[in-house]
Amino acid sequence: MTPDEPLPDFSDVEGGSSSAAAAPGAQNAPRTYEVKKGDSLSKIAKHVYGDAGKWKQIFEANTDQLKDPDKIYPGQVLTIPDA
């Protein structure tokens, strides 16, 4: 930004917060995502990583419970590997 540029407008920013008790050692526990109705692995990858193409990472981290990447069900808890 140059000094002449107007300051950006942040008036349409909305913030929020929430808090949850954590299990001891939660910092190092695997991250998980609970599948919702209408989810697909690519949709989850887009939501989590910002890149739908990373669905395969999620699939490979969950081969213990996923046999077909197109078949996931609401309520399933998937491990989310680091990007």
Binding site: E14, A21, I80
Partner: protein, 149 residues
């Protein structure tokens, strides 16, 4: 001529030895062991992570420090040893020093993860941002991140 020392001379000569023997005192008792009081665990922010989505446990799912102009931005703040009435505050600022948002949240039972999020209806201005976390009014950590096209 045979001279014999009187007994009292001998006794006098032996006095220092007697004195030494008497001086042998019992060793002093070992100093009483003073156990320092166990340190009181201090409330602390142990980690701050940034991402665009959180799980039900409030932890960001894929930590990162760079975001797109349309992304939600979430900070997960890990705390330990906090009292039930502990309060966390997140202040988000842009590189110009402008405050983007500020909000406070009571912390759940310790240990806890607290998420703060910001969304913007229009695109985020590209640049460098910072989120500063305070615990009960005391600065407890900060993270910087970028927004890029």
């Amino acid at each position: 001529m045979k001279t014999t020392r009187p007994l009292w001379v001998l006794a006098l000569a032996a006095l220092p030895l007697l004195g030494t023997a008497c001086k042998k005192e019992a060793p002093p008792p070992p100093p009483a062991e003073v156990t320092p009081p166990a340190p009181t665990p201090q409330p602390a922010v142990t980690k701050i992570e940034l991402g665009s989505s959180v799980g039900v446990d409030k932890r960001v799912l894929a930590p990162r420090s760079s975001f797109g102009v349309k992304d939600s931005i979430i900070a997960s703040v890990y705390t330990e040893n906090t009292a039930p009435n502990a309060m966390l505050t997140a202040k988000w600022t842009f590189q110009t020093g402008q405050t983007v948002d500020s909000s406070s949240q009571a912390v759940a039972a310790s240990p806890a993860v607290t998420e703060f999020h910001i969304v913007k209806k229009s695109a985020w201005p590209v640049g460098r941002y910072k989120v500063e976390i305070s615990l009960n009014g005391t600065p407890a950590g900060a993270q910087e991140f970028d927004v890029a096209k």
